[in-house]
């Protein structure tokens, strides 16, 4: 249990809303009741106390404004967090998603009253199909991980429907995101890890050896987590399909492929999109995400329920719009969440973004994301070891360690904060020691990239001249490194009103 004295000894930078509370304050007014009073509920159904804070509106605004100032964000600066695609989030999307027609429509309204929403969803389904080369798209999954879970459920349902019950193995490259094995684990399938070769591709020999009639399929991130496009992707897909498996594409890195290649054309059967990465939906401090899934012809009938479809065709000549509504796929794996997906926060923003880019604009995104990554890689190559060194896609992985120094990737990352940059992703993928995974995205200019390179080179010098400077970084931030062991051992997971709260005046 918590050692209270230790907690009290800590310096409080910003009190919690509970500590800011004072009995009798309120931050809002509500209208008086305009109906006659009803009998109250029986006493035994009522709670005895409501230990929640009491603040004025100004207290709330200042508290959360101060908290916001403790955050680093894309709006403040460069955020090259590999695999997360921290691109700039256009402001217009914040306005479109808050249009009253979107904000105040209930998910269970009759379809005749929400044709604007349904038209948007239908069109977005069509656009995502066109961008990815798939035959069908569901917008329902709440995030990439849920999209992935939906995809794996569909793969399992496909084999089951065919009576092919001996398939229990999912092939997953050693560089995969942790969600891949975790999704597979949720279905009780067996994970078979496939190693990478020296160019960062799937090791074809190992793959051949693993391919047999017990394979459910393969989950491949391409470009992979090294930021490399698999040079034998067609051969990989052929091997998996020849043994009767299905090909899952992790769409986490789709930003590099917009207008460049369509996963459906390459032969993938199913892929999740991360609208919050590729299509500039803001990350919100860790969510909400939005994880639509595209599928090939043979998985169409298994998509989650419901999809948006056309219930009655329109007539362009008569300027009559079609009637949109919900349709149920024949062998649907079922419902993934309540209602229809992350409509307001995810789908409207992504729709706005795609509408403003068009086919050429989307290709610009991928090309410049890849240009920026290769530019950084070229500039850092001489100082930081790049274990899989070739033209990368939207990101690359460097080693955060130096000959004869015990400075680690973590130290480099923390020191970068002193130079006002968000660090890259650390310690992932697991196959690169002391990994620094760097994804600049297309929304950074050359000056920013040059300043980042300068900081990285300076840090490499400091690692030799003054390693302590790195190990104790960051120095310029409001907060220093955290004691994570204390957090995990003491497990203080919430706070309360002060013990003598009621007697405060």
């Amino acid at each position: 249990m918590a050692d209270i004295s230790t907690a009290l000894d800590a310096i409080i930078v910003e009190p919690t809303v509970f500590e800011l509370s004072s009995p009798g304050r309120t931050g809002t007014t509500m209208p008086a009741a305009d109906v006659p009073a009803a009998d109250s509920l029986p006493e035994h159904l009522l709670r005895s106390e409501l230990p929640l804070p009491e603040l004025a509106e100004v207290d709330v605004v200042r508290h959360f404004t101060r908290l916001s100032q403790f955050n680093y964000s894309v709006d403040e600066g460069f955020y090259p967090l590999g695999s997360c695609t921290m691109k700039y989030n256009p402001k217009i999307n914040e306005d479109t998603c808050r249009l009253p027609g979107f904000l105040f429509t209930h998910p269970l309204q009759p379809i005749e009253t929400v044709q604007g929403n349904l038209a948007l969803m239908f069109e977005l389904q069509e656009w995502l199909k066109e961008i990815s080369g798939f035959a069908g798209v569901t917008l329902q999954p709440a995030a990439g991980a849920q999209g992935e879970f939906s995809g794996v459920l569909m793969m399992a349902a496909y084999h089951k429907m065919r009576g092919d019950t001996k398939r229990v193995k999912m092939l997953i490259p050693d560089a995969a995101h942790g969600t891949n094995p975790a999704s597979v684990g949720m279905l009780g399938m067996q994970v078979v890890t496939i190693p990478s070769d020296e160019r960062g591709n799937v090791n074809l020999e190992a793959l051949k050896a693993a391919c047999d009639d017990t394979v459910v399929g393969m989950m491949l991130t391409n470009p992979n987590t090294l930021g490399l496009f698999d040079e034998h992707v067609e051969e990989v897909i052929r091997l998996v399909k020849d043994c009767g498996g299905l090909m899952y594409g992790d769409g986490a890195n789709l930003n590099a492929l917009l207008g460049i290649v369509r996963p459906g054309d390459l032969g993938f059967d199913v892929m999740h999109f991360n609208l919050h990465k590729t299509f500039a939906v803001p990350h919100g401090g860790g969510g909400p995400g939005s994880g639509p899934v595209g599928v090939s012809e043979r998985l169409l009938d298994f998509l989650p329920n419901p999809l948006v479809g056309i219930i009655e065709e329109g007539d362009e000549e008569e300027d009559l719009a079609p009637l949109y509504g919900f349709v149920t796929p024949k062998h649907s794996i079922g419902r993934m969440k309540a209602f229809h997906g992350h409509f307001g926060g995810g789908l409207v923003r992504a729709y706005t973004y795609i509408a403003m880019h068009g086919p050429d604009g989307l290709k610009d995104i991928a090309q410049h994301a890849v240009l920026n990554a290769n530019y950084l890689q070229a500039k850092l190559r001489g100082t930081y070891r790049i274990p899989f060194d070739r033209i990368c896609m939207h990101e690359f992985v460097a080693e955060g360690r130096f000959e004869g120094s015990d400075v680690r990737a973590l130290d480099i990352s923390k020191r970068l904060i002193d130079y006002k940059f968000h660090p890259p992703t650390n310690y992932f993928p697991l196959i690169v020691p002391e990994a620094l995974m760097i994804e600049p995205t297309e929304t950074e200019n050359k000056d920013t990239l040059d300043r980042f390179v300068e900081a990285m080179l300076k840090i490499a010098e400091e690692a030799q001249s003054d390693p302590e400077l790195l190990k104790s970084a960051p120095h310029t931030t409001r907060f220093g490194r955290m004691d994570e062991v204390k957090a995990a051992r003491e497990l203080i997971l919430c706070c309360w009103l002060p013990e003598n709260y009621e007697s405060l005046t």
């Binding site: 994570e484 062991v485 995990a488 051992r489």
Partner: protein
């Protein structure tokens, strides 16, 4: 690195004490895991276990691992105190941090003696 001469070790870093029937994880393993914050014993007294069966799950601040039985036999005791003091695995891996005891435990065929295990660990880099 510290080993204990009378113990046998598995390449997956568990130790087995043939005399007492106790099983735990090595000093090398606790060091790799760093600060342990959670231990769950997956078997109960009276269970018959085979070599390689998962007997415990351990989570540290940065890692998570399963512990596999280095020996077979019938579980005669489970160290219930470990759940409340998982940090014991860091402080006393060969003593108070034993996880289970086996009755009539038979060591797995591939266990190493202390010096062979030490050599094995040195060859693993980090």
């Amino acid at each position: 690195m510290n080993t204990s001469a009378h113990l046998k070790f598995a390449k997956t870093d568990e130790w087995f004490d043939a005399e007492s029937g106790a099983i735990g994880i090595s000093d090398y393993a606790q060091n790799q895991l760093s600060d342990v914050v959670f231990v769950e014993i997956l078997v109960e007294e009276g269970d018959e276990i085979a070599v390689g069966k998962p007997i415990a799950s351990v989570e540290s601040v940065k890692a998570s691992t399963e512990i596999y039985a280095p020996a077979s036999g019938k579980v005669s005791a489970v160290n219930a105190a470990l759940a409340d003091a998982p940090e014991t695995i860091n402080s006393d891996p060969y003593g108070a941090a034993w996880m289970i005891k086996l009755e009539g435990g038979a060591a797995g065929d591939e266990l190493l003696d202390a010096s062979a295990y030490e050599q094995y660990c040195e060859g693993r880099g980090h």
